[in-house]
Amino acid sequence: MKQSFWKVLKHSPSILIGGVLVLTVILAALLAGVIAPYDPVTFNPVDRLQNPSFKHFLGTDIFGRDTFSRVLYGAQTSLAVAFLSVSIALLVGGIAGALAGFYRGLTDTIIMRITDILLAFPAVLLAIALLAFAGGGFWNLTLTIAVVYAAPFTRVARASVLRVREEVFVEASRALGLRSQLILLRHVLPNALSPLIVEISLRLAFAILSEASLSYLGLGPQPPAPSWGQMIADGRQLLETSPWMSLGPGLAITITVLGFNLLGDGLRDLLDPRLRKG
């Protein structure tokens, strides 16, 4: 197992590079308190609107707060929203999709029609509408992204379960007289997981992007807590004099999303039996 792990890394640059990027961002978030040279929220008017220097790697904002430190702390917000929302979406969407695919019939019809409705609607607009009425903030943002992303998980889980339930070993367990819940949990689900793993990685990337867009519109975590989208919006007005206020957090978003995308692409190549070599 250990050997094959290194073999995978050697043969899949996507997983390697994506993994390194994602790990870097996770470490930056976890160690923000240690690495960050300045406090992310305390005002320091003397140092306001500085350009990048050795003292402030990415310059400072209008209140004299260090942009680099705020980007590090912003990683905490961004990752927390992404991981929480995708976990909830996976749980809800995965269960719904598995039930729909396994039991078919009326259950399937009802669940999939609801999914169709949710998917018939641009995700960002749905999220904006939900948030604008419910109000912004960390938990509302997380739950909204979870609601929006539950539908794609339902689709993937259903398709995967549909494929597995037709396989001979499932037919065999049915012939042996196993109860259907047991077949679903023990035999179908474990074999239906790999498309979901790929979907998780790609959805994390989307969740980071959505969090950023919604924070940009002011619907994310409330200030002074730093969030990347909000920081870009703050920098928008001062683009001409202090471009790094927007450039820094934007780079952070791009790196994080790139990491999750590469990881997802690499995992898909690895887990898809049709693409696996040797």
Binding site: D116, F121, A129, L217
Partner: protein, 316 residues
Amino acid sequence: MFSFLLQRLALALFSLFGVMLLVFLMVRLVPGDVVTNLVGLDSSATPAQREELRRLFGLDLPIHVQFGQWFGGLLQGNLGSSLRTDRPVLTDLALRLPVTLQLTVFALLIALIIAVPLGVAAAQNRGKTIDTIASLLALLGIAAPSFWIAILFVLVFSLQLRWFPPSGYTLFSEDPIGNLKSMFLPSLALGFSLAAATMRIVRSSLLEVLLLDYIRTAKAKGLAARAVVYQHAFRNALIPVVTVIGLQVGNLLGGTVIIEQIFGLPGIGRFALEGINLRDYPVVQGAVLVVAAGFVLVNVLVDVMYALIDPRVRFE
């Protein structure tokens, strides 16, 4: 083929109805109230006056009756009036739709102009420098948020080079050149990630087709590489491309909300955002209906495209 389309259309209309029901309930069930929003929290309006306003807007009726009235109006082409300005929602939508339509169509065109030649070049030169560069660009294009790309473009093309205005909208009928100038950066920013996604799928889909036997035959009989790709391979590589573009148009429509906000364009997305902020129910419902209808329409169009591209779909 015809019955297949009819079935798709029926499903699409059902989805649309579901979306509208969802939005209708959502805007009413979530805390916050249009009347408070209109008169202000600390205003001197008496409870009786507030009740009068609610009755005037029909908000005192049971929710299913409200929906029935709104849906009945919709069937007659009446989307109600804004609670704030009293203007018919349909009038405002008609004024703003061209802006969003122009933005989306331009973004789509720009995406195709970038993606198709680049994807074909990458597939033809698999593993070479141009393939590596194109693939890296695509990865970055997908990863970078569109609103950030928009800001980068403003920084470079408006503030540094002064080629395009950083924001604002010019009517085409007043100043065609100014209109194109004001729409270029927003369309480019919106189309950028679509270009990246499309380029990747053009590349991988073409690569798959280029390995097939009939392509080897075409090459063996001495056809020029260009003719092989564009006349023989491209058509067969198009189905996944059309699928991805169809899926991405949803993101494109969602993206217009933020892009219109950044560039100050008076489109549907910004109209919806304003309506949401002011809790102007008819405005939100109208704007959402238009966007959702556009999305559903695109999906039906994608099905028609399948049939046009692939005769096997047509005769199924």
